[in-house]
């Protein structure tokens, strides 16, 4: 069967194509449209997926949308009426926003793709998250926890999944917490309060939390209460996201925590105000972790299963994931490379294949590289137009030269194979540097990424060497496969890994198995032979405010506009003229 999954309209639109039970293509719309977090109906992504498989829309057996728009409309309408008259402005805005296009997804898919109405299916939002987490994980039975801002009504679900070799695949979501009580909205409200963009700045809150002390957890527990049934509830007096389109938190929230940070104000951690914001971030983070740990402990008691699959945007919180692994009792934790709404496109397609159509289960290849492949010829053309000398090298020579670049403190743009599906660069569209000193971190922040200095950079390490540098608990290497956990850097290596060690001595490490990205794995081992430390700083290949690069032309453009010294695309390599002509730099490795 050929099934297309689609997610769209809120954030991170994406399309994924499943053929005979296996994904063949999946890509976020932003990577093609070049608009960060593009939520528009993903025509570019759909077209690419179909082209990749050589299909026309009429060849599809089903098109599955990742949520039920009419159930969502029901929730928006009901919530607005419950909060009336406070919500009158939000009501008008929500109706205009929803009734223009978002509510009519069946018609939209028919109009855009020309597929018959009876081929268009819908899954529930959290079913899609659960399927994306469970059906892509290398486990036969697992407990499932999905948690995000909101889907239709559910904001958190718990359940279990089974995919026996000789029977039907099942995903059963037993219980749910409903809007407006939402861990995602809770964290996003603190994100907005701290002056960051919702759905974009949550990483920054997590990074900032490491600089603070959780001195305000009592206040945070007032806004996020525990309920006798083991779940949680927001005290809505502190929030306005359910009644307002412009503000997430109420006056009472400000009375409790103090004045919010304005978006343009820098966070100076030397000042009392800067430390207050860091303390609030640390307190919100701690309370979020406590709730998740309690939910997962209970789930472990109920299911008795060794594995847990996490889905939904909150599963991107690596610090919380690590605590869940350490304290919930689950032995292994699986977080897909795209646990958020983009991954739901794949989840919806897999859910339809296994559960709606009852097709036999198949193991999904355990990697995130479902996007467009690199076309190296583009780099030759672009470099030729600009008169930059291009080298096309065999594999050993490319690795040797790249090791020399890294050892001399150069910043390498690294493009290889197919694009990652999900928000993280996992070795195919990465910026790589030596991880040894803080000057490199500052240079990346200043010349390339243009981002806040408190945000950490992540390391990548081959699995064979991971334990030597990082304190990985049992199951830690699995969690770090897609950079979904944060682990302590061993004390004796923190100085040598200063650029990737966060202020609290941790790192959001990617543990790389050779099968997943052989060329990067070889580079890490070669760099280890050269420097004694087979670890590199790995950050996403993009500039601030732009999506991760997809094609060579975007990598080349980023290379030209930033402080990247060397661009490697497949076996092709170019160096900035100034770098090529400069005297050799002092070695940093």
């Amino acid at each position: 069967m050929k099934i297309l999954g689609v997610s769209a309209h809120y954030h991170d639109a994406a399309a994924a194509l499943v053929v005979d039970g296996l994904p063949v293509a999946a890509v976020q719309e932003e990577r093609l449209s070049r608009r960060k977090n593009d939520a528009a109906f993903p025509m570019g992504a759909i077209e690419w997926c179909l082209d990749q498989a050589g299909l026309r829309p009429e060849d599809l057996d089903a098109v599955v949308f990742y949520e039920r728009p009419m159930l969502k409309f029901d929730r928006i309408l009901t919530s607005a009426l419950r909060a009336f008259p406070h919500s009158r402005r939000a009501f008008a805005h929500a109706m205009k926003n929803t009734l223009g296009e978002k509510a009519w997804v069946r018609g939209l898919i028919t109009a855009q793709l020309g597929v018959r109405r009876d081929k268009i299916l819908f899954t529930e939002h959290h079913q899609s998250h659960a399927a994306a987490a469970f059906l892509t994980a290398p486990t036969r039975r697992a407990a499932i926890l999905t948690t995000d801002g909101v889907g239709e009504w559910a904001t958190t679900t718990v359940g279990r999944g089974e995919r026996p070799a000789d029977g039907p695949t099942r995903i059963i979501l037993d219980r749910e917490v409903r809007f407006p009580h939402s861990l995602g909205m809770f964290y996003s409200t603190f994100t907005a309060y701290l002056g960051f963009a919702i759905n974009e700045g949550e990483y920054k809150v997590m990074g900032l939390a490491a600089y603070g002390r959780p001195s305000m957890v009592d206040q945070v527990r007032k806004v996020l209460r525990r309920t006798p049934d083991g779940a949680f509830a927001l005290d809505l007096d502190y929030f306005e996201f359910h009644t307002s389109v412009t503000r997430s938190f109420s006056r009472r929230f400000v009375d409790l925590f103090g004045p919010p940070r304005l978006a343009h104000e820098p966070i100076d951690l030397e000042t009392a105000e800067g430390r207050r914001f860091a303390d609030i971030a640390a307190s919100a983070q701690q309370v979020l972790e406590e709730v998740l740990v309690d939910l997962t402990r209970r789930l472990k008691r109920e299911t008795g299963l060794p594995d847990l699959c996490l889905g939904g945007g909150v599963a991107l919180n690596g610090v919380a994931n690590t605590r869940i692994l350490a304290e919930s009792g689950f032995e292994r934790l699986f977080v897909p490379s795209a646990p958020g709404d983009a991954g739901s496109a794949l989840g919806a397609a897999l859910y339809a294949d296994r559960i709606h159509f009852g097709n036999p289960d198949r193991d999904i290849p355990d990697h995130p590289f479902w996007g467009p492949e690199l076309d190296e010829a583009d780099l030759a053309r672009l470099a030729g137009e600009d008169g930059l000398p291009l080298q096309i090298l065999d594999e050993p020579a490319l690795i040797d030269l790249s090791v020399e670049d890294l050892a001399h403190g150069r910043v390498v743009g690294w493009m290889d194979g197919a694009l990652e599906f999900g928000p993280r660069a996992l070795g195919h569209r990465s910026i790589l540097t030596a991880p040894h000193d803080l000057a490199m971190r500052d240079r990346l922040n200043r010349d390339i990424k243009y981002r806040e200095e408190f945000r950490p950079f992540a390391p990548v390490v081959p699995i064979e060497a991971a334990d030597r540098f990082f304190v990985l608990p049992p199951g830690g290497a699995r969690l770090a496969r897609f950079m979904s956990g944060v682990f302590p850097v061993r004390a004796e290596w923190r100085e040598r890994l200063a650029a990737v060690t966060h202020v609290d001595g941790t790192a959001r490490v990617q543990v790389l198995e050779r099968d997943m990205a052989p060329r990067l794995h070889d580079l890490l081992l070669a760099y280890g032979r050269r420097s004694g430390v087979p670890v590199l700083l790995n950050t996403s290949f993009n500039l601030a405010g732009e999506p991760i690069v997809n094609r060579v032309v975007e990598g080349y453009s980023t290379f030209r506009r930033s402080g990247i010294d060397v661009l490697v695309a497949g076996r092709s390599r170019i160096v900035k003229r100034a770098v090529a002509q400069a005297a050799p730099r002092e070695e940093v490795a």
Binding site: R56, M70, L71, D74, L99, E101, W104, R106, G107, T110
Partner: protein, 70 residues
């Protein structure tokens, strides 16, 4: 390869699908029981409003008249 339709054609298809989607919404509200059934007239009214908005987008000549209603 996707055969791209013109905007008017696409909007007409969306418009044609609205009755089915509205029915789906009404069925959902009805199944919830008496506590939510009172919402049905409002939901249908809003869906009709949505249909008029889609019509205004499809037929630009009608747009000023439609927006004048609001």
């Amino acid at each position: 390869m996707i055969r791209h339709r013109g905007r008017f054609h696409r909007q007409m298809i969306v418009l044609g699908s609205m009755a089915g989607s509205t029915l789906e919404l009404v069925q959902g509200l009805w199944r919830h029981g008496s506590g939510r059934r009172w919402l049905i007239p409002l939901a249908v009214f809003l869906c009709l409003t949505g249909a008029i908005l889609v019509l205004a987008v499809s037929v630009e000549a009608l747009a000023p008249f439609v927006y004048a209603i609001f």
